[in-house]
Subunit: 193 residues, 2 copies
DNA sequence: CTTGCTTCTTGCCATAGGACAAGACATTCC
DNA sequence: GGAATGTCTTGTCCTATGGCAAGAAGCAAG
């Protein structure tokens, strides 16, 4: 039991053996091929996914038709649209596999049952949501206070795993710039060293 | 009971009369004068505040020393730093009264007790947090997809209450621009009509 | 009334980053 | 292999917004 992949996500020691069994059994391992969509705009998110391996991306299409990367998910992250999932309303986002991906999936009804039924599950879930909120807030401040080059530098430090595997165009929209500008920024950083 | 101001924040009908009594008694009415601080950078948020009247602002000082407005709170909002409050860690933000303010304050320990003890309280709290998260996400997308003038126009529609009472400089940093640019944008919008 | 202090506007110039188009590679598919 | 497609770079020019400084206009204090 203790070796279950979900042990990375929940403090299994805080559950009774039976409860832990019930929880791990409720998650279903699922695999996706590159470019598969886990969630599409307009649908109501009925699941979330703990990521075991691979890279996922959430994105939206803005009014001018541009593809905007909203977030990336890698091993240990939870791929989720919090608003759509928790409010059970249609999403404006898409979640897509950028590589082959292995996840553990939970549906909303079971999530609710665990959330209200198990205090440690609840605390863990709330902590995840607050963590996402905090990360988003930091990104917001960075968008206002930092120049594009600095934002890219931070990404190099904080998410080096993304740099090699995600197309520049998708990274660029995440940073709030065009792929052209990102290309130039990369060149400048190269020349500095 | 049903007339208590907190009826705006919680579905009182979902609590027993006794529970509702206990909850409303736990909130304490507090008043602040213009420019008072409710929370200062470095402290750990031990309360949150439901706003009955007045305007509050949260802000941070960026590495270059600039004052960045993060959010504004008016009647019906909850003034809170979610990360600091829920994770009980030091905040990077400040919360300040921009006018005279009347709020209802709750401390963390009592919040935790209610959160784990009352399912409707829990759902309401989670919904608030998700709402904040969603608003922040929309702001993020707007920062990337919209020009400054469009962001200001949206603010005019969505938060008209702020326009007259908040100094332009504080609105400008919220929009991610300088007060100079905001002044020009306002002029352009004036001339369009 | 006068002296400040803050807020808002305006002018001039500088610059980060965008738009568009073309080329250089790399990858996949037949 | 060759064609098609997608990714990344680069050049030229353009525009939104910033930086700085000087007025103007409101408000507060002596």
């Amino acid at each position: 039991m203790a070796e279950h992949f979900l042990g990375h996500f929940f403090p299994s020691t805080q559950f009774s053996s039976d409860d832990w069994q019930m929880i791990t059994n409720a998650f279903k391992q699922v695999r996706y091929a590159k470019d598969d969509h886990l969630l599409r705009e307009g649908a109501t998110a009925n699941h979330y996914w703990f990521v075991e391996s691979g890279i996922l991306r959430s994105y939206a299409i803005d009014p001018k038709g541009h593809d905007l990367s909203l977030d990336f998910f890698t091993r240990g992250d939870v791929a989720i649209d919090w608003s759509s999932f928790l409010q059970q309303k249609p999403t404006r986002e898409n979640i897509q596999a950028l590589t082959e991906v292995v996840c553990w999936r939970l549906d909303f009804a079971t999530f609710q049952q665990f959330f209200h039924g198990f205090e440690p599950f609840r605390e863990a879930g709330r902590a995840r949501l607050v963590g996402s909120y905090f990360a988003l807030k930091r990104k917001n401040v960075s968008m206002i206070a930092d120049q594009a080059k600095d934002r890219y530098r931070k990404l190099m430090v904080e998410r080096p795993d993304l740099l090699q595997q995600v197309p520049l165009k998708q990274l660029a929209s995440y940073l709030g710039i065009t792929d052209t500008s990102l290309s130039r920024i990369r060149k400048e950083i190269m020349e500095e060293s």
